[in-house]
Amino acid sequence: MVENRPLLTLLSHFVMLIGVIVIAFPVWMTFVASTHDQQTMLQSPIPLLPGRYLFDNYMQVLTQGFGRGFGGAPLWVTLMNSTIMALGVAIGKIAISIISAFAIVYFRFPFRMWFFWAIFITLMLPVEVRIVPTYGVVASLGMLDSYSGLIIPLIASATATFLFRQFFLSVPDELTEAARVDGASPMRFFWDILLPMSRTSIAALFVIQFIYGWNQYLWPLLITTKADFYTVVMTVSRQANVVDSVPSWNLLMAMAMLAMVPPVLVVIFMQRLFVRGLVETEK
C-alpha cells in the first residue's frame, strides 16, 4: 500500500462485497428454488430462503429425471455421461497433444512444419462455426449416439500442443544430451524425463479441459438422440425451454445445481492449477 487511506480501503471492501453478492445471487436463488416444493415456486414472489424439500427434489431428479413422460433421462445417467465426456476430452487432448509436441520439438523430419501449421490452423475455428458439416462427417462415420462421437471430434486442439511445445523448448538441452550419452531411446527419454517434468503443466491443462468438456452444449445436443447419451448441461437447457408448459421450477433448478456443482468445485479446490492453466493456454 502506497499510502494509508482507511476510508478508501473501506470503500474497496464494500464494493468487493457488493460485487461478490451480486455475482453469487443467481446461484443462491437457484439453490433456494431447488429446496422448495412445486406449489411454493409458483407463487410470486418466490421465497428468498431455503425450504424443506432439498432431499426430495434432488432424489427425484437423480433417479427419475424431470418426471415421467417428458423424454428425459434420470440425472445420474446424464451426470455419468458428462463425467465420461469431460474425462475423455481432457485425457484425450493431453495425450495426443503431448506426443505430437514431442515429435515436433525433438525430431527433424520431412513435412515437420507442414504438420505444425496444420495443427496451428485448428486454433482458429471453434466447433460452433463448422457445426453442420462436422455433424455430417460424424454421422457418415456412424459415430452418432456414442461416447467416441461425443469425445473424439473435440480433442484436436492446437492450444494444448502449443503449451507443451512451449514447455519442451524451455527444457535444457543438457538433459537430452545426457540421456543420449547414456544410450536412452527417445521414448525412454520421454517417459522418464520429459513426462515427469511436465506434471504441473499437465495438471493445469487437465483442469481447464475438464471444464471445457463438461460444459459442452451444442455438440452433445446435435449428436445424441438417445437419452442414454444425454449430458447434464444439454438436459438442463432442453428442459428450461419447456419449463413454462410443465412448471416444475424446483426440479429444474435442482438439475441446474447438479450441472454446475462439479466444475465449480474443481475450480475452487484446484484454484492454483486453474489460474495457471488459464494463463498458460493463452500465451
Binding site: M29, I99, L125, P126, E128
Partner: protein, 293 residues
C-alpha cells in the same frame, strides 16, 4: 525457436504426430472443406439433388435483410458484452488490488462463474427474470418497470448480455488482476511521492500499463461474444423474440438444422470462418508485439 539437440529416428516422429493429424484431418479439414464446397451448392428441398451455383448463396445472403439484422444484433451484442464485461471486471480488479487483506478470498469468490456452462448460465438468469416467477422481474415490477424478455426484444437482448457478461467476468477479472499485480510498486510510490492521488495514478500510470492486457481481453471477449455465447442464447431465447437475439452463430445453426438450408448455412459458416481468422491474426500480431515489451 528450435532445439539444438534432437533425436534421429525415421518413422517414430510420424507415429507420434499421427493421432493428432488424423483427428485434425477428419474432424477439421474435411468438414471445413465441405462447408466451403457446400456454400457453392444449392440443395433442393427434398434432398438428393444439388446444383453447383457458384456464389449464389453468398449473393442471396447479402440481399437478405434477415442476415443484416442478425449481423447488426451480433455487433451490438458483442460491443455490449465486451464493454460492460471489461469495464466491470477492471473496476473489480482495481478494488481487489487495493485491499491487501482478503484479496485472495475475493478472488476465490469471483472466479467460479467461469466454471458454469454458458447454457446453464442462461438458465439461471432466465429464472431470475422469468415473467411469472422471476424474483428480479417481480422486484422490477414493484418499482413500476414491466420486464418481460419473452416478448420484448430489447429486454431479451439485455438479458442475454447480462448472462454472458456474468459468465465471462471471472476470466477478465483474473487477467486484469494479474496485470495490476505485475505493475512495479516503485512506479506507483514514485507518483505518490510526487503528489499524485489514487485517481491520477490510475489514469496516468496504471491504465496505460494495463492497456496490453486490456487489448488482449478485448479480442478474447469479442471472440467469446461471437461464438462462446451460443449456449446462453439457446437456453434463454432461442434467438427470439422476433429474432431480436439471433446472433450470427445461432443463425448458422437455425438455418442449417431447423431450416435445412444447407447452402445458406454453409455460406454463413464460411463468412464466420473468415471473421475468426481475421480476429486471430489481430490477436497474434498483438502477442508478437507484447513479447518485445
Amino acid at each position: 525457436m528450435e532445439k539444438r539437440v534432437t533425436f534421429n529416428e525415421r518413422w517414430l516422429p510420424y507415429l507420434l504426430v499421427a493421432p493428432q493429424i488424423v483427428i485434425t484431418l477428419v474432424f477439421f479439414f474435411w468438414p471445413s472443406g465441405q462447408a466451403i464446397w457446400q456454400s457453392l451448392l444449392i440443395e433442393d428441398a427434398f434432398g438428393g439433388n444439388s446444383k453447383f451455383v457458384w456464389f449464389d448463396n453468398f449473393i442471396n445472403l447479402f440481399n437478405d435483410d434477415s442476415y443484416y439484422s442478425s449481423a447488426r444484433v451480433t455487433v451490438v451484442f458483442s460491443f455490449l458484452v465486451a464493454a460492460i464485461g471489461l469495464g466491470l471486471s477492471l473496476f473489480l480488479a482495481v478494488m481487489a488490488d487495493r485491499v491487501i487483506r482478503g484479496a485472495t478470498a475475493y478472488k476465490t469468490f469471483l472466479i467460479w462463474p467461469y466454471a458454469v456452462a454458458p447454457a446453464v448460465a442462461g438458465v439461471l438468469w432466465g429464472f431470475l427474470f422469468n415473467p411469472s416467477v422471476g424474483i428480479v422481474a417481480w422486484m422490477l415490477q414493484a418499482i413500476g418497470i414491466e420486464f418481460n424478455y419473452v416478448i420484448n426484444g430489447n429486454q431479451a437482448l439485455l438479458l442475454v448480455v447480462i448472462a454472458s457478461v456474468w459468465n465471462q467476468i471471472s476470466y477478465n477479472f483474473l487477467f486484469f488482476l494479474a496485470g495490476l499485480q505485475s505493475i512495479p510498486k516503485s512506479l506507483i510510490e514514485a507518483a505518490a511521492i510526487d503528489g499524485a492521488g489514487p485517481g491520477r495514478r490510475f489514469w496516468d500510470i496504471i491504465f496505460p500499463l494495463l492497456s496490453p492486457v486490456g487489448f488482449f481481453l478485448l479480442v478474447v471477449n469479442i471472440i467469446y461474444a461471437f461464438f462462446g455465447t451460443f449456449g446462453v442464447v439457446a437456453s434463454l431465447t432461442q434467438g427470439g423474440p422476433a429474432n431480436a437475439t439471433e446472433i450470427l452463430v445461432f443463425k448458422v445453426y437455425n438455418d442449417g438444422f431447423r431450416g435445412q438450408d444447407l447452402g445458406g448455412s454453409s455460406a454463413q459458416s464460411v463468412i464466420l470462418m473468415i471473421v475468426v481468422i481475421l480476429l486471430t491474426f489481430v490477436q497474434f500480431r498483438f502477442i508478437e508485439r507484447r513479447v518485445h515489451y
